[in-house]
């Protein structure tokens, strides 16, 4: 009985504790939902933002996931202040639902073929993605990198024969890094982030697809001023950080 009353009391305290203080605008913290391909880059942008103005004490939490998952979370009312998407349709869906302000393009990205270091299978272009003998992977058609990759293959007149359609770009990169796949199609920035473990093979401009990344403040933000300041930073001084990671300017 004593144990029970302890349990009940702590339970009540936990519930009460959970109710207070989270949406307090004065605590100066914002949550940024960012596309999986912005991992690493946005961590550094957030650090730079926090360090930029000593008078403003805003801490930034970045939550990374596939743009479509983030879209679902925003539409289901997840408490976030800023949304940075890897493609336009996911941002449009959020804007149409009235959950975001007017979006601005803050970065561009391009596709590249990624192969394990040393290119053991001798991949030299998009044609190889039609080869049944090779182990090649794409992102699933449902996520932006998979949609873009299929557009590029289509422009090159290649009917791909992938051995796997990975649920996000990082999963695909990991399998190429491990040497399990002979090739994959990812973003230029992913190839750069993987360092020596992989090599990139350029896709000709006439076949390549330019991905545009829009950013917007969310209408459900508990701290619209801080959210707007972060977006302004990404469009301004944050551009240098993004360029370091291989992103193009809008």
């Amino acid at each position: 009985m004593r144990l029970l009353s302890i349990l009940v009391t702590t339970g009540v305290l936990v519930v009460l504790g959970g109710c207070g203080g989270t949406d307090d605008a004065a605590d100066g913290s914002i949550t940024v939902f960012a596309a999986a391909s912005l991992t690493d880059a946005f961590d550094e942008v957030a650090d730079a933002f926090e360090a930029a103005d000593p008078d403003v004490d805003v801490s930034v939490d970045v939550s990374f996931a596939g743009s479509s998952s983030l879209r679902e979370q925003v539409l289901e009312g997840a408490p976030a202040d800023v949304f940075a998407s890897a493609n336009v349709p996911n941002m449009d869906a959020v804007v149409e639902a009235g959950a975001a302000g007017s979006p601005r393009v803050f970065a561009t990205n391009r596709l590249q073929i990624v192969v394990p270091a040393g290119n053991p299978a001798g991949i030299d272009g998009l044609d190889d993605f039609a080869d049944d003998e090779l182990l090649v992977g794409l992102c699933a058609a449902e996520v932006p990198c998979g949609d873009f990759a299929r557009q590029a293959l289509d422009r090159a007149g290649v009917r791909p024969a992938p051995d796997t359609n990975e649920p996000d770009v990082r999963a695909l990169l990991t399998k190429v890094e491990a040497g399990e796949l002979d090739a994959g199609i990812v973003y230029v920035t992913d190839v750069a982030s993987a360092g020596d473990r992989v090599e990139g093979i350029d896709i000709p401009d006439e076949h390549n697809v330019v991905a545009t990344y829009p950013i917007a403040t969310l209408t459900g933000s508990g701290d619209p001023e801080a959210a707007a300041a972060f977006v302004a930073f990404v469009l301004g001084d944050g551009q240098d950080v993004l360029a370091e990671f291989g992103f193009g300017r809008p």
Partner: protein
């Protein structure tokens, strides 16, 4: 076993907690049902992507359960009935996949059985055989994640069993294999069936290890959980329809068997 008991006197204080537990599990299901696209359900669940994924899920879950019974029951016997140095280490090791995040399990499988893996590389060079990106990879991932449920269930069943019957059979001249086959195994059968059911259920829902080790390709490696996850990216209604199919299949197996096998 079937001694008739009086209904127990209910300690009422337990009830709110029991109700909270049921509600916590039931409410998400109610939420799913409430969002279900009932009018389009027929069309959604007969699409090839769904039937392919369902077939693959069921086949690989049964295969993983079969393999688990074949090698897991002998291991459970060894753990329950023998003592050797390092037994507690082995026991901890075989339950590790339960604690391991499935994605980590999938990555570890790649490092062991992948094309550049410890065992996978020499096997691939010699024979050209490859587990990842094939149904064998799905079965391997399912077995890795689900077999521990069978092993611990059977092991505890064997420990709880009365081993005097085995001694008696041995005294009467039965060989070791005969004792195992005629006495130990029939006595442990409820535990084996319960373990197999848990193992099958865990394999049916496997996501993380499968996608990491075997990849995702419709008709070859895309199981129901993978199809649900990807459908969620683009078409929420299809994802809900797929989830309902998976729940229906699970219930069709669980409801008749749970009361009989899982006590």
């Amino acid at each position: 076993m079937s001694r008739r008991r009086r209904p127990p006197r209910t300690p009422w204080v337990l009830l709110p907690f029991a109700v909270a537990a049921v509600a916590f599990i039931a409410l998400p299901l109610v939420g799913l049902l409430q969002r279900a696209p009932w009018s389009d359900l027929g069309d959604l669940v007969t699409e090839p992507v769904v039937t392919d994924a369902l077939r693959l899920s069921i086949v690989s879950a049964f295969a993983a359960t079969g393999i688990s019974v074949l090698v897991g029951v002998p291991l459970a016997w060894v753990l329950a009935r023998t003592s050797f140095r390092g037994r507690s280490l082995v026991r901890a090791l075989v339950t590790l996949p339960i604690f391991l995040p499935p994605v980590v399990g999938g990555a570890s499988l790649l490092f062991a059985f992948g094309r550049r893996g410890l065992v996978g590389e020499p096997v691939y060079e010699a024979t050209g055989l490859l587990l990842p990106f094939s149904i064998w990879g799905v079965i391997a991932a399912n077995t890795f994640v689900a077999m521990p449920f069978l092993i611990i269930t059977v092991e505890s069943g064997l420990r709880a069993a009365d081993d005097r019957y085995e001694d008696a059979a041995a005294t009467l001249g039965a060989g070791r294999w005969t004792v195992f086959r005629r006495i130990t195994l029939p006595n442990a059968m409820p535990a084996v069936l319960a373990g197999a059911l848990l193992c099958w259920a865990r394999a049916l829902g496997e996501f993380g290890a499968t996608v990491t080790f075997a990849g995702n390709l419709q008709g070859r490696t895309q199981t129901m959980p993978l199809a649900v996850f990807l459908a969620l990216e683009s078409n929420r209604e299809a994802a809900i329809a797929l989830s309902l199919v998976l729940i229906a299949v699970s219930l069709a197996v669980l409801v008749p068997l749970r009361d009989r096998w899982l006590r």
